[in-house]
Amino acid sequence: MPSLKDIKTQINSVGSTRKITSAMKMVAASKLRRSQEKAEAARPYSSRLEEMLSSLASSAASGEGIIKLLTGTGNDQNYIVVPVSADRGLCGGFNSSINRETFKLVKSLEGDGKNVQLIPVGKKSRDFFNRVMKDQIIESFVDLNVSSTGYESALNISNKLQEFYFDGKFDKCILVFNKFKSAISQEVTQQQLIPLDVSNSKKEEEKENSSNAIYDYEPDEETILKDLLPKNVSIQIFKVFLESDAGEQGARMAAMDNATRNAGEMIDSLTLKYNRTRQAFITKELIEIISGAESI
């Protein structure tokens, strides 16, 4: 039987764990609000950019140079997969679901005979892929701090990707990230970044074409498109980072809420055990006294 002191120490240690988890929950909740605001604030820019792009996309014939971001290289052999995870743990299944999904995707692409390379973003996915497919990592980005550095971080990665793309190092780039659905649920999503997937904005494009296709372009459509495409890549990445950041905070909040509740339950059951043990000791002592008195 554990001594009373042992149980008391255990109760105290679970109690302080609960304090930590509940504090982390509060922090995550306030960060979540901020991340959500950021994601909200970024929306007008990206939606505008998408609109402009879709109204221009129709005018792009298969071309050379930057237009390739839209039309593709014509090949389908070399892939780059970019898993976007968090830098820190203690957020439930957030990171592991990204890693699992990416791993599955890479395996299935390899099964189709494609070459796959990885650019993990965030410490958790970098560490994971460093263990399982080290030689496929060509670059990694950690310590991004999207909420404080903002757009710069996305720009770095976007520049790197485009450099690789125009060097002919890959034909397609796929992002794997947690899409922010609500504060408590995230959905692992794959998004093709390069070449740009315009199929989802097709409907909008048709609408746009019928209503106002009479824009004057200055200097001309091609020049604008050439400016627009690289920016679009960056902004897509930025959007994904913001979503993932908000998702991370949400996941952490949920995980810490659970942990706090579990700690509470544990304290309750330990307290019960403590009281029972205490009573058992008292009873035992009473029996000793009584039997001692009887024997006299």
Binding site: K38, Y45, M52, T223
Partner: protein
């Protein structure tokens, strides 16, 4: 005199959104003066000043943008800019210092930054109309 709605948007947030009289936008091939009822134009921008004038032609706000796009139609003008700073928050001496530092480097990125910094300096030094 009518007004035109003007949005200035950066990737991080919506910076300006109001009904105004005139906007001067730094188009790639030269400045565009945008008044209510402007024809539909889509233009890419060079680094330069975005000047916002009220209905009675007084300067309301002035910004420096490092390039981007403008979408203009008769009722609305939207400027998408990658980095936006308010003009009067810029400091001439710090820009000069930046130019000096960048001047010695020769990689592509710093050359690009240099041209933006130069445009910034120009935006601060060159005079403009407080009232048009």
């Amino acid at each position: 005199m009518a007004t035109i709605s003007f949005d200035l948007v950066s990737p991080e947030n919506l910076i300006f959104n109001d009904e105004v009289g005139t906007i001067i936008v730094p188009g790639k091939d030269g400045d565009l003066g945008v008044l209510p009822g402007h024809t539909q134009v889509m233009s890419s921008l060079r680094p330069g000043r975005v000047m916002v004038y009220s209905e009675d032609k007084n300067l309301v706000k002035s910004f420096f943008v490092s390039g981007g796009f403008a979408e203009i139609n008769p009722e609305k003008c939207i400027v998408l800019a990658e980095s936006v700073v308010e003009l009067n928050s810029l400091d001439k001496s710090s820009i000069e210092k930046e130019i000096e530092e960048l001047g010695s480097k020769e990689d592509k990125e710093s050359l690009e930054q240099l041209s933006i910094a130069k445009a910034k300096l120009e935006a601060v030094t060159v005079s403009f109309y407080d009232k048009i």
